[in-house]
């Protein structure tokens, strides 16, 4: 069942926000937002820096509590998140994987095969005894993806996963994310990369100043007229003009 299929749309959402809002002191990072994430969806969050993309991602994941409104998620929901700058412990690649699997509650006898399969998947199996910190940033991001994929998440959150990478590493990571999505994993990613949003997403949500300005299927987002703020963003206009 893919997100575009009518069945997916009829299924109960994996996550639902009802007028969820977040403030950091006087800064309103997310205005009351209502949103549903259906199984198998591939959602890209677009917007300028500080528009609320990461806050929305964190609220959807459950890392950030809402000041008002509510987040509802199916229980139990297996979820994982890949961050812009992956954090890996000063341990071997294999130990980092084992730790992630242990934290996710994967049974002991399943951890080793899952670890090897995930590392194979991202091309790091041969480097599993290496200190994770000795890997390049691109390899560390692939390790973060392996760590996330290994726990078989129903929803994978990605916070600008290729923003810190060189073009080669960007392509590798994007290809892996595309593979995960093709297998039916639900994706919610924030990105500044319009091409990446076009290639990976089936639905684009554009945010500005903590507010959802546009929420459309990808093709419609890029081909049909948009509200002014989103149209300016696509054209690359400076936000204060």
């Amino acid at each position: 069942m893919t997100a575009s299929s009518p069945l997916a749309m009829l299924a109960p959402p994996l996550i639902r926000l009802e007028r969820a809002s977040v403030s950091f002191g006087a800064v309103r990072a997310l205005l009351p937002t209502t949103l549903a994430v259906q199984p198998g969806e591939r959602i890209a969050l677009l917007g300028h820096n500080g528009s609320g993309k990461t806050t929305l991602l964190r609220v959807l994941h459950g890392l950030q509590r809402c000041d008002s409104g509510a987040r509802h998620a199916v229980a139990p929901l297996r979820q994982a998140m890949v961050f812009q700058r992956p954090f890996v412990l000063r341990l071997s690649v294999a130990a980092n994987m084992r730790l992630a699997l242990w934290l996710a509650g994967v049974a002991k006898d399943e951890r080793e095969p899952r670890m090897l399969a995930a590392l194979e998947r991202v091309g790091l199996r041969e480097l599993r005894a290496r200190p994770a910190r000795a890997l390049s940033l691109g390899q560390q991001q692939r390790l973060a993806l392996a760590r996330a994929w290994a726990v078989r998440p129903e929803v994978l959150f990605l916070d600008e996963p290729t923003a810190s990478l060189d073009p080669g590493a960007k392509r590798e990571v994007e290809a892996l994310v595309a593979e995960f999505a093709d297998e039916g994993m639900t994706l919610v990613m924030s990105t500044h990369n319009l091409g990446q949003a076009k290639r990976l997403a089936r639905r684009v949500i554009y945010l500005e100043a903590g507010r959802i300005v546009a929420d459309r299927p990808t093709l419609e987002f890029f081909d049909l007229p948009l509200p002014d703020e989103a149209a300016h963003f696509l054209k690359g206009d400076l936000p204060w003009h």
């Binding site: 961050f83 954090f87 996710a104």
Partner: protein, 238 residues
């Protein structure tokens, strides 16, 4: 010959002679300070990491107090422990005043804030960049703190070395609770203080150099282990 030159010659002679009394003093200094550091590590690492990871009312005040205790005068610690362990004190029944055990207790109290405060800062800095990622993987507060201690283990070792340096170099606390009894509680710093008071400055300085040499050897040993572990890790193949 200048006092410094004479001190160097005396230090060299002390090492060459390997005097039994001196070896006992060096051995006791190392044993007391290492024991105090181990005890302080047990409480300080756990306490400091917990203080960095948890959120509770009064946390800032506790951090302020802990950081203030970094300047705890060793003589004051010695006096407090003396009052606690003296016959009329609440712990007098233990009968450990003027023994190495009392010196360990005093030095533990002295270095505990060092271990706890530096660990708290270390873990707090680490969690600022990684805490959310560990949380997203399912690690609770205590586990995040523990993982950060593992992650920063070499820096933790530096914290413990700092604490060891503070312990082995202090004189006030061990003098008060140990009494500087020859062959029983005499350690390097109390010997230096004694020789200074007797006017034998070259010997006092020589003992000071010896103390620095002992600490340098400990540091070298740990640095060697760090390099060996690092090389081992990078040389690993699947």
């Amino acid at each position: 010959m200048s006092a410094f030159g004479e001190s160097l010659t005396t230090a060299a002679r002390l090492i060459a002679d390997a005097d039994a009394a001196l070896l006992h003093i060096v051995g006791l200094s190392l044993a007391v300070s290492a024991s105090a550091c181990l005890l302080a590590a047990g409480f300080g690492l756990a306490g400091g990491a917990a203080l960095a990871a948890a959120r509770f009312p009064g946390q800032r005040a506790l951090v302020l107090l802990l950081n203030t205790l970094l300047a705890l005068p060793s003589v004051v610690v010695g006096l407090v422990v003396y009052l606690l362990l003296s016959r009329s004190g609440p712990l007098g029944s233990l009968g450990i005043l003027f023994t190495p055990s009392a010196m360990v207790v005093a030095q533990t109290i002295l270095v505990l804030p060092v271990v706890a405060a530096l660990t708290r800062q270390l873990v707090a800095d680490g969690l600022r960049g990684s805490g959310e990622q560990l949380r997203s993987m399912g690690a609770g507060t205590g586990l995040r703190a523990l993982l950060m201690l593992v992650h920063e283990r070499w820096s933790v070792l530096t914290v413990l070395l700092t604490a060891f340096g503070r312990a082995i170099a202090e004189v006030g606390a061990v003098m008060v609770v140990g009494g500087n009894i020859d062959g029983v509680t005499r350690v390097m710093t109390t010997t230096i203080a004694l020789e200074t008071s007797k006017g034998d400055l070259p010997l006092a300085l020589a003992l000071g150099l010896l103390l620095l040499g002992v600490v340098a050897l400990v540091n070298l040993g740990i640095a060697g282990v760090q390099r060996w572990r690092g090389a081992l890790a990078l040389g690993n193949t699947p």
